[in-house]
């Protein structure tokens, strides 16, 4: 079982042009900002949108080739979990889940039996006789998942599966979803704008920006070596681009960084974790190979640390403890010195796309 898709379609504001491959038993997260084309990609896989060009292959069967071949959603063997779940309000939870098997020709008794089994697997069989309006948000999410799983789909699609939940419910539902995805033998694709959901639920992440794939890799790949400012911002690291020559990186935005890798040549990206940057009020005399001046533009408190936005060459975000801010009396407008060790800078060739 596998899914391979090459999707091209024009949708007014943007052109979606993306490739996607999912192996059986794995989950791919499509991560991107709102309006990047994530949901359109999902709808194309489900057969709710036709592609203009390309090819969608599920289980070795071509279901859309942008031309003569188009398999209707009902014949694709996919399960789709909508962002707002789209549970049928006039049916009970059990009838919602039994709807798929019934529509695919199973008998009434058998369909209800299958529905009970799936509900039990998700630990919500006690809700069977309730209406969707009588269950909580987290429960509704599980019902929607149960309904999608009840037909035994080869491809499970989830559109922002956790977006409608509050923070507390979200964590418990995410853990449950992790467990379900681990057991699910088919291919799963989930669309999200939350990097945490993507990193915790998916084996691979595809980053979609303005209809095109900006980066693709494991959650670790993205965290360590983001390819675009969007991904870097999601991962909370500083990303700088420039040209590397003999252990120095001449930055596109001005300024130069000394890097540990002497052999790196040509277009390159450099990642600096905010924690790796030291802020001083006077020129530092330490061992750090990089030191430059800047000015604080904003200070934001995040739980146990403070993110300090600094303009300079280069401009960066540094993370320090609240105590350090108090001692140094740093606020917007403060002139500061920044320093970072060359070994703390991860520089790598620019992944040309």
């Amino acid at each position: 079982m596998s899914v391979r898709a090459s999707v091209r379609l024009a949708r007014g504001a943007f052109d979606l042009d993306a490739e996607l491959a999912v192996q059986a038993g794995t989950t791919v997260a499509v991560l991107g900002p709102n309006g990047a084309g994530k949901s359109t990609l999902l709808r194309a896989l489900a057969g709710l949108e036709r592609i203009d060009q390309g090819r969608i292959e599920i289980d070795g069967r071509i279901v859309d080739d942008g031309d003569s071949v188009f398999v209707q959603p009902r014949a694709r063997n996919v399960g789709l979990v909508f962002q707002d779940y789209a549970l049928f309000g006039h049916l009970t939870v059990l009838e919602n889940v039994a709807f798929g098997p019934r529509a695919r020709g199973e008998g009434r008794q058998r369909s209800r039996q299958v529905a009970h089994e799936v509900l039990a697997r998700l630990g919500i069989d006690h809700l069977a006789d309730r209406r969707p309006s009588q269950v909580s948000g987290g429960q509704a999410q599980r019902v929607a998942l149960a309904r999608a799983l009840a037909t035994g789909p080869s491809l499970l699609l989830m559109d922002e599966p956790l977006a409608a939940l509050d923070a507390e419910t979200r964590t418990s539902v995410r853990i449950e979803l992790q467990r379900q995805l681990a057991e699910y033998p088919g291919c799963a694709v989930l669309v999200t704008h939350d990097p945490l959901d993507a990193m915790l639920l998916a084996d691979r992440i595809v980053v979609l920006e303005s209809g095109a794939i900006a980066q693709e890799g494991t959650p670790g790949d993205l965290a360590r070596r983001p390819a675009t400012p969007y991904v870097a911002a999601l991962m909370g690291v500083n990303l700088l681009s420039g040209t590397a020559v003999g252990g120095e990186l001449a930055l596109d935005g001005g300024g130069t960084l000394r890097i540990a890798d002497q052999g790196l040549q040509g277009r390159a990206l450099a990642v600096i974790r905010p924690e790796a940057i030291t802020i001083s009020l006077h020129e530092p005399q330490g061992s750090a190979r990089n030191a430059w001046q800047g000015r604080v533009t904003a200070v934001e408190l995040l739980h146990d640390r403070v993110r300090v936005h600094i303009e300079g060459r280069p401009g960066v975000i540094a993370a320090v403890t609240p105590a350090a801010i108090a001692d140094l009396r740093i606020d917007a407008g403060t002139a500061v010195w920044l320093s970072v060790k060359a070994v703390e800078i991860d520089a790598y060739p620019h992944p040309a796309r």
């Binding site: 009902r74 789709l80 909508f82 789209a86 049916l91 529509a103 999608a148």
Partner: protein
């Protein structure tokens, strides 16, 4: 739970509001006050009244059934904007609603009359004639009442998110199954409201019916026509029949209203 305190109404709303209420209720009260209660039973169970009432029920229910059969699908087509020029079509569908009923009757004669656009073909080829028949009454009633069902149902379909139908499709349901098991049940309250409006309009139809089908007792003389006819001979009979019509309308509306409210609450 305590009832919220009633807001005090400003006089410039309270006074005209009271006038409107009186204006709407006084004729109904007058009808009941002047009804010949002593002879009511006799008048209502008379052969003429019974046949008019039966004819009214049969024709208005037939017209409503016909409207549901073809009007609901049209409402869906309009709501999903699958037809070209949906905006124009929607406006055209509403014309019979605004048309003076007499004009509707004349238009039906022009279309289905013996020398009408379609009527001539039907008459020549199959010997089918609608004017001055019971079927003609059904046609006249359906023509003026179907728009009520269409606009109500279109609103219902339109406010139903397409995601439910999409969800059902990905679960393997055919278009027919989606429509029958998802779309229609989910617009149930709109359907009931639309059917009631449509039926009430058909039951009260007068102008188009008398123009297109005439007023023949037992064949095309429905209750409103019978009331009008009685007015010229015996005023008390007209009032008695009117009270019956009022009772039928009110009782069915009350009965359906309870169901409609329950359907909305769930």
């Amino acid at each position: 739970m305590s009832r919220p305190r009633r807001a005090r109404a400003p006089w410039f709303l309270a006074v005209p509001g009271a006038v409107a209420l009186a204006f709407l209720l006084i004729p109904l009260i007058a009808l009941l006050a002047q009804a010949p209660w002593a002879s009511l039973g006799g008048i209502v169970t008379s052969e003429a009244a019974r046949s008019a009432l039966l004819l009214s029920l049969v024709t208005s229910l037939s017209a409503t059934a016909f409207a549901a059969l073809v009007g609901v699908p049209l409402a869906w087509l309009l709501a999903r904007e699958v037809l070209p020029w949906t905006g124009l079509l929607r406006a055209l569908v509403l014309v019979p609603l605004l048309l003076p009923p007499v004009v509707a009757g004349v238009a039906l004669l022009a279309a289905l009359g013996r020398r009408g656009l379609v009527g001539q073909v039907l008459s020549d080829a199959f010997g089918i004639q609608f004017p001055f028949t019971t079927a003609g009454v059904v046609i006249a009633e359906a023509f003026v009442s179907m728009p009520f069902l269409i606009i109500t149902m279109e609103g219902g379909f339109r406010s139903l998110s397409q995601r439910y139908e999409e969800a059902a499709a990905t679960l393997g349901a055919s278009a027919w199954t989606v429509f029958r098991r998802i779309t229609m049940p989910m617009v149930g309250p709109s359907l009931i409201a639309g059917l009631v409006l449509c039926w009430a309009r058909a039951l009260g139809e007068f102008g188009a019916t008398i123009t297109f089908a005439g007023s023949f007792p037992g064949v095309t003389q429905t209750m409103p026509l019978a009331v009008y006819a009685a007015l010229e001979t015996d005023r008390s009979v007209a009032i008695a029949l009117s009270v019956v019509l009022l009772a039928v309308s009110v009782s069915v509306l009350v009965a359906l209203r309870g169901r409609y409210l329950r359907a909305q609450a769930s």
